[in-house]
Symmetry: C2
Subunit: 506 residues, 2 copies
C-alpha cells in the first residue's frame, strides 16, 4: 500500500505540472498559427511566466525526497517494470531540469533570442560572418550545458542524450557512417541512371480551400481523429499536444503544388497518431509521453515515406486525387506519378529532400556540430567544411552561405545534438516497417484497398501505448527482435529505388 | 516617495494577475473558436486550474493590508485623481472577489452548468416547466449573492452594480420607463406607416471566403488594427482581449446574407476599438480596463448603428459592396438599401432586432428579472407575464416558450442584472454620438468620404484612453456636459425613422 501511495503522489504532482505544460503548448500553438504580430512582446512575458511556474513545480517535485526515495527503493524490487520506468524517467527529467543552474538556462534562452535575430539578418544578407559571434557564444554555452549534464566520452554525448536518451556519439558515428557509406555510392548510381523523371508535370493551380478538404480527407483516412485534433496552417509545420484529446497539427500550402501540403500533412499525421495513441490515463507522466525525438520521427517518416510514398498507398488515393484535381492529374498515369513523387535530386536544403539524399544532409551537419562541440573545428571554419562536404557527398556546389550553412534555424536556437534524431527516425522507421510487414503479410494489399487500420493498430499496440515504459533501444529490440541497424533502411532504399531508376545491383 | 512605492507594488501585483486572466482568455477563445470536441473535459480542468490561481492571487492582493492602507489614506489627500481611481476600483474588484464565500461561488458555477443543460433541453422541447426548477434555484442563489454583496434598497441593485457600477434599480427604472414611454407609441406609428420595405431583395449567395475579405476590409477601414487583432468565426460573436496588443473578435457567416456577418463584425469592431484604445502601460490595472458593460456596449452600438447604419457610412461602403457582390446589390439603389437595413419589424427575439424595437426587448426582461429578484413575481408565473408584455409592447403574440421566455441564455448562466446594460449602451451611444457631432460638425461628410479616423480618435481621446479613471456617470458628464438621459436616443430615433417611414411629427 505504501509504495502505491508514493507512486500516486508522484503521478498527481506530474499531472499538476501537465496543466501548465499544456497551457504553454496552447500559447505556443496560438503564437505560431494565429497571434497578431504586435502581441509578440506580451506573449513572450506570458510564456515566461508559465515556464517559470513549470520550472518551479518541477524542481519542487522532490522537495520532500519523494522521488529520491522512490529511486533508492528500486533495487529492493518493490516496483513493477512500469513503476520502475516511471520513476527512472521522472528522475531523468528532474535531473535535466535541476542540473542546469537557473542563470545558465536564462543565458541560453537570452542568447537564443538574440542569435535568432542575427541568424535571420545573416541569412538575408547571405553573410555568415554576421552570425559567427553568436554561433561562437552558442557553442560555448552548449559546451557548458554538456559539462553541467555530465558525459563519459564526448561533450556531444550529453547533448545527444537530451533528445535521444541512451544514444552516444560513438554509437551514432558507427550507424551514420554505415548509412553514409551506403548512400554516397547509391546516390552516384542513381545520378548515372538513364531514367529521367520530369516532375513539372504535377504542378497546377489548386485552390487552398480544396487542398484543405483533401488534406483533411487523407489525414482522417489514416486514422487521425479530428474530434481530438485539428489541422491549421503555419510557416513551419508541426504537431503539438495539449492533451491526448487535443493533438493538433499544422501544414502549409502552395497554390501550385497540392503535394507540398499533403507531404507535410501526412508527416505530421504520423506524429499525431503517436500522440493520440498514448494512454489518456498516463497523461502528464512519462508513461504517457513519447520515448524520444527519434522514435517520434520514425512515426512521421513511416507514414510520410514508407507508407505515404508507396505505390500501394497511391493505388488507393490517386484516383481520389485525380478526381479532386483533374488538372493535371488526369493526364498523369499512376506509375509516372509514383516515379515523380520519389524522384531523387541532390539539393542544397534538407527540408524538401527526397528519401535518398535526406540523410546525407543530416550526416553532414551531425559531423560538423560534433566537431564544433568537441573543439576540433572552429566555428569560423565551418562554412568551408560545409561546402566541401556538400561537394563530396552530393556532388553539389554551394553558391552562398544562405543556401549553405545558414539554411537552418537549429543552431541559432542552441539545438546541438537534435539533428541526428532525424536520421535515427528514418532508420527506426525502416526497421519497424520491416517488422510490421512480417507481422501483416497483406499489409500493402490493404493499403491499396484504403485500409490503414491494420497499420495504425499495429503501431499503436507495438509502440504508441507504451509511452516511456521502454527506452528507445529496448523498444527496438522488443518490436523488431534486434538492435537498431541501418540494414533495413539500406534494403528498403535499394529495393524501392532500384526499381524506379532501373539500377543493376551487383 | 512612499506613496508611489505602494502604488507601484499594487500595480505590479495586478499585472501579475493579468498574465493569468490573459491566459484564461486565450483558453476561452480557443475553446469557442478552435478546440476539438473531445478536449472539453481536459480543457475544463485546465480552466479551473487557472481560475483558481487568479482567485488565489486576487484574494491575496491585500494580504499585507496594502490595499486597505491605500484606501484609508485617500481622505488624507495624498493621492492624485488617477491614483484614487486606481485604488477605489481595485478595492471594488477586490470586494466583489472576497465578499462571496468560496462555497457560494462554487454553488453558482455548478448550478450554472446544470441550468445551462436544462435550459437547452427545455428550449428544444419548448417547455418552460423543464427549466423552472433550475431557474428557481438560480434566483435563490442570485438573491444570496445580493445579500453577500450588500445593497441599499433593492437586492437587484447589488446585481446591477456588478455589471454597471453605480447604476441602481431606481435610476434604471426612471430612464428605461422614459424609453418605453417613447418607444411603444413610436413603434405603433411606424407600424401604421404606408411605407412598406421589402428586405428579401438583399439575399443572395455570398461565398464565405469573399465575405471574410469584405468583413476584414470594413473592420480595418474603421480602424481595427489587425496587427494587434484577428477576426475568427464562432456561433456567438464576441470580442476578447488578451492584451492591448492582442484584441480578437469573432463573427458569424450565413451564405445567403453578407449583412449578417457584417453587422456582427462592425459591432465587435466597436468593442475592439475600445480595447485597443486603452493604454498599454495601464494593462492589468483598472486604469487599463473598460468602465462598464454599458459603456462598452455604447462603443459597439455606435459603430454598428449610429455610424454603421447611417446613410453616409453606406455612401462610402455601398459602391464597394456592390462591386464585391454585384448580385444582388447592383440592382438595389443606395437609398433603398438604406431603408432595408433599417427596416423596423417587431419580432420575438432581441438578438436580431432593429434599433427601434431592440430596447423594448431589454426593458421587458429587465422588468421581469427585477421582480423575480425582488420577489414580487414567482418564476412559475414569468412566462405569462412575458407573453403579456410582448403583446403590450410589440403587439406580438408569442407562439411558444422557445421563442418566448426561453429564447436567451442569460438567466441559465445566472446573469441577472446584466441585460439592462444593453439598453444603457444604446443610450450612452446616442448621447456620445450627439456630442461627437457637435465637436466635429463635418463628421458625416467624412464618413461619406471613407474617413473614420476623426470619429475613432474622438472616441479614443474622450473615452478609451481613460480606462476606469472615470466612473460611467462621471464620464458621461465629462464628455457630454450632462448626466445620462434618454433624450438623445429619442431624438436620434425620431429624426432617422421619421424620414425612413415618412412620419408626421406633431
Amino acid at each position: 500500500m505504501a509504495k502505491n501511495k508514493s507512486i500516486e503522489t508522484l503521478k498527481n504532482r506530474l499531472r499538476e505540472i501537465a496543466y501548465f505544460t499544456s497551457i504553454s503548448a496552447i500559447l505556443h500553438w496560438d503564437q505560431e498559427v494565429h497571434m497578431p504580430k504586435k502581441a509578440i512582446e506580451y506573449r513572450a512575458k506570458t510564456m515566461a511566466e508559465i515556464s517559470a511556474i513549470i520550472h518551479q513545480k518541477f524542481t519542487a517535485l522532490d522537495h520532500d525526497k519523494l522521488l529520491t526515495n522512490l529511486k533508492n527503493e528500486i533495487p529492493e524490487g518493490k516496483y513493477s517494470d512500469e513503476e520502475e520506468s516511471l520513476i527512472l524517467e521522472c528522475w531523468r527529467d528532474y535531473s535535466l531540469e535541476t542540473k542546469l543552474p537557473e542563470d545558465h538556462v536564462r543565458a541560453v534562452s537570452e542568447l537564443s533570442s538574440k542569435a535568432h535575430h542575427y541568424w535571420i539578418e545573416a541569412r538575408k544578407q547571405s553573410d555568415f560572418s554576421l552570425f559567427l559571434p553568436c554561433l561562437e557564444k552558442t557553442i560555448a554555452l552548449q559546451k557548458k550545458t554538456a559539462e553541467y549534464l555530465g558525459y563519459e566520452k564526448s561533450p556531444y554525448d550529453a547533448l545527444l542524450d537530451i533528445y535521444e536518451p541512451g544514444m552516444t556519439t560513438e554509437k551514432a558515428l558507427v550507424i551514420l557512417n554505415d548509412v553514409k557509406d551506403f548512400l554516397v555510392p547509391f546516390l552516384a548510381k542513381i545520378k548515372k541512371s538513364k531514367i529521367k523523371i520530369d516532375s513539372k508535370k504535377l504542378f497546377g493551380k489548386f485552390p487552398i480551400d480544396e487542398q484543405i478538404v483533401f488534406n483533411r480527407f487523407v489525414a482522417e483516412k489514416l486514422g487521425y481523429d479530428l474530434d481530438a485534433g485539428k489541422i491549421d496552417a503555419s510557416t513551419h509545420p508541426f504537431t503539438i499536444t495539449f492533451h491526448q484529446t487535443d493533438v493538433r497539427i499544422t501544414t502549409r500550402y502552395k497554390t501550385e503544388d497540392v503535394l507540398y501540403s499533403l507531404g507535410s500533412t501526412i508527416h505530421e499525421t504520423g506524429h499525431a497518431l503517436y500522440e493520440q495513441g498514448l494512454i489518456g490515463n498516463d497523461f502528464g507522466t512519462p508513461l504517457g509521453q513519447a520515448i524520444s525525438l527519434g522514435i517520434h520521427e520514425s512515426q512521421s517518416r513511416m507514414w510520410e515515406n514508407n507508407i505515404g510514398k508507396s505505390l500501394e498507398f497511391w493505388k488507393y488515393f490517386y484516383p481520389k486525387l485525380q478526381k479532386a484535381f483533374p488538372v493535371p492529374y488526369k493526364k498523369v498515369p499512376l506509375q509516372e506519378f509514383y516515379s515523380i513523387i520519389n524522384k531523387v535530386t541532390p539539393s542544397l536544403i534538407r527540408t524538401e529532400a527526397d528519401e535518398v539524399t535526406y540523410n546525407l544532409h543530416i550526416i553532414l551537419r551531425f559531423e560538423i556540430e560534433k566537431e564544433l562541440i568537441e573543439g576540433t573545428l572552429l566555428a569560423k571554419d565551418a562554412p568551408k567544411v560545409w561546402n566541401e562536404k556538400m561537394k563530396k557527398y552530393f556532388g553539389v556546389t554551394v553558391p552562398n552561405d544562405r543556401l549553405g550553412i545558414l539554411q537552418d534555424v537549429h543552431w541559432s536556437g542552441g539545438s546541438f545534438g537534435y539533428f541526428p534524431t532525424y536520421s535515427f527516425g528514418n532508420l527506426y522507421s525502416a526497421q519497424f516497417y520491416a517488422a510490421m510487414l512480417k507481422d501483416i503479410p497483406d499489409l500493402t494489399i490493404r493499403f491499396a484497398k484504403g485500409d490503414f487500420v491494420a497499420a495504425r493498430e499495429w503501431l499503436r499496440k507495438k509502440i504508441h501505448v507504451h509511452g516511456k515504459r521502454y527506452t528507445a533501444s529496448e523498444l527496438v529490440l522488443e518490436v523488431t527482435g534486434e538492435p537498431l541497424s541501418s540494414k533495413y533502411f539500406q534494403d528498403y532504399l535499394t529495393e524501392k529505388y532500384s526499381k524506379i531508376y532501373n539500377l543493376k545491383n551487383k
